[in-house]
Assembly symmetry: C2
Homo-oligomer: 171 residues x 2
Amino acid sequence: MSDVLELIFSRRSVRKYLDKTVSREILTDLLQAGMAAPSACNNQPWEFVAVDDPAVMQELRSNLSHGPYNAPAAIAVLYNDKIGNNPRCNSFWEQDLSAAVENILIAAAGFGLGSVWLGTHPKVDTILKVQRILKIPQQVVPLAILYVGYPETMPEPNTKYNPARVHWNQY
Amino acid sequence: MSDVLELIFSRRSVRKYLDKTVSREILTDLLQAGMAAPSACNNQPWEFVAVDDPAVMQELRSNLSHGPYNAPAAIAVLYNDKIGNNPRCNSFWEQDLSAAVENILIAAAGFGLGSVWLGTHPKVDTILKVQRILKIPQQVVPLAILYVGYPETMPEPNTKYNPARVHWNQY
């Protein structure tokens, strides 16, 4: 198996973390990975809130029913329809931001960090909670929150490859 | 710069390809990377059409105004609302499939392949063309087509990091 597949297969959801902080240098590396994602028409309609304040992490943990995990840090990935280079391509925003998310998760795996993707959009109640906790304006939409940290144990690399989902040359 | 950032930064859009086929073994590796993506509730609501028939590639090239490029192969990434493990999480399908797309593009970069992401959903006219060419049923939605091939020249690695897009702990 090639190195790149090994890396991609090593990105697994982690829900138990060591009590060890993630440096701002590493969080910034993860943000660099995110912003290296492709976007439709090079629109880049994304913003990020990086969280490493224990009190804010505790707020997320106690308010998000799908995010009680003890990660020391998080990155919220946000859509702002006013900041893109090419607003005519805004309808691809969910794809653009999801590519940025996946880049961050793969970079985290490459750094030996665990991560878990907490879905936010299109669940309105979750969007409102995240906006309130991170003081995000109403018109800026959190797509997802990514918890990151050093894993208590790293799950085994895995692909969920299913040949029945592959068609060749026509469906 | 770490290896993983170098890899992620090396994923650039390529629009000129060598006249050299991509093996089914490598295309299958790319599909393995795609299906290793995370999905909400592990739903995995994706299917793929891998294209390596020159006649089908020519059909795509001549019908898609944003895809005239001479790639020898392509992967269409499709949403089928009937095949997921957890249809209650179908509303996250666009994010799930975009993560699979980004995994494929990063794996391609790792193999020394170029790629370009051709947006399809939510452009109805493009969806209909892709469904017709690849004989995709009406209820199965192509999110995107990814062209892949050996690049004529590989663009320089790049991040589009913009510190103005980062907020710490609150927006």
